[in-house]
């Protein structure tokens, strides 16, 4: 367990070093994700212990956004007098992005039968 947590932290550290050294505009953890993914592909199988650590971290990914979310609400005043424009833009643009992305994927993607499902409601 600790060994795989260390592996994940090492990937993140390597990712941070690469972004700082190269100046690419991608966060270190995302580069770390690519490194770990490449490592898994090279190895050809997923160790159970690594799967357990990753699933534990990801099961409550939502929780990890709470501190940043609190900061945002306390700094809402930076949205200033433009808030009606920004509110409309955020809602409409978010829904439009979801519709366009999903449509393009449905039109072009090759879907296995297992890919189909329905969400609640």
């Amino acid at each position: 367990m600790i060994a795989y947590l260390t592996l994940i932290l090492c990937c993140q550290l390597a990712g941070e070093l690469i972004t700082v050294a190269s100046g690419i505009p991608i966060p270190g953890p995302v580069v770390g994700m690519v490194i770990l993914f490449a490592g898994l592909l090279a190895r050809g199988r997923l160790p159970d212990g690594l799967a357990a650590v990753a699933d534990t971290l990801l099961r409550h990914l939502s929780l990890l956004f709470v501190p940043a979310g609190v900061g945002v609400v306390l700094h809402l005043h930076v949205v200033s007098e433009d808030w009606p424009a920004i509110a409309v833009a955020l809602v409409v643009s978010t829904l439009a992005t979801i519709a366009v992305t999903a449509w393009v994927m449905v039109l072009l993607g090759r879907h296995a039968p297992s890919d189909t499902g329905t969400e609640e409601r």
């Binding site: 966060p27 971290l57 709470v66 940043a68 609190v70 609400v73 409309v88 992005t97 999903a102 393009v104």
Partner: protein, 239 residues
């Protein structure tokens, strides 16, 4: 008695333990409500926890910096969790390879839609260029979005606020939009939520379905890349 209570409060509020405990407790309450409502996206646990904690901070006049001393331990785990997204990605590698071109096409189109539609709508209201360019990268994961906004002359702090708001909006409203459009493919649903609502959307997608979660994580990463590469060019064209 009152003075004692105050001394205890002063002591506790100076220690990271209190805000860490409150963060977990507020999230637990949010999660409980969300589960009871059978994962209704509107009762997003992040949204509930944030509202509770903001209420507490305002009522006790606590500075965000003091709260963050405890909450940073939770915040820190975002990095390792992002790295861990490699695992669902690896599990879905076959499906991803099969539709690689479709995935890239949908992420690039989605990325352009996110930036252009937001800028176009805000411009109709006569918003200044500084605010427009801070709004453009709103669907991208926070550190990348702030970098893009800064590079193009926007306000990174405004961008950070808009990114989180977009994530919560996308996670709360996105599933209704996808149901309305009758999108039944988990891969398409995941990609759409990941492009529009980055990590907060991905967190919800992972709770619903493993395929949707993997595609959402992939979309978040590739959208950051696509927006960082394309937005500076698009901004020059539309300015």
């Amino acid at each position: 008695m009152g003075a004692d209570l105050e001394r205890i409060w002063v002591y506790l509020s100076a220690s990271p333990l209190l805000s860490l405990t409150l963060t977990l407790a507020a999230y637990q309450l949010g999660l409980w409500l969300y589960t009871r409502a059978r994962l209704n996206p509107l009762l997003n646990p992040v949204l509930i926890a944030v509202c509770i904690l903001v209420g507490i901070l305002l009522a006790t006049r606590t500075e965000y910096g003091v709260y963050f001393e405890g909450a940073q331990f939770v915040h820190f785990l975002l990095g390792p969790a992002t790295v861990a997204l490699a695992i669902p990605l690896y599990r879905q590698f076959e499906a991803i390879r099969r539709s690689a071109l479709a995935i890239i096409a949908s992420i690039v189109t989605g990325s352009a839609t996110a930036a252009l539609s937001a800028v176009a709508i805000a411009r109709l209201f006569g918003v200044s260029d500084t605010v427009l360019v801070s709004l453009a990268p709103k669907s991208v994961t926070t550190p990348v979005a702030m970098g893009i906004a800064e590079q193009l002359g926007g306000l990174p702090s405004l961008t950070a606020v808009l990114v989180i708001l977009t994530g919560i909006l996308g996670a709360a409203l996105g599933p209704f939009m996808l149901n309305l459009l009758r999108i039944r493919s988990w891969s398409a649903r995941g990609l759409a939520i990941g492009v529009a609502a980055h990590g907060i959307g991905t967190a919800r997608a992972l709770q619903i379905n493993e395929v949707a979660g993997a595609f959402s994580g992939l979309a978040m990463g590739l959208n950051a890349l696509a927006t960082a590469a394309l937005l500076p060019l698009l901004w020059k064209l539309i300015q």
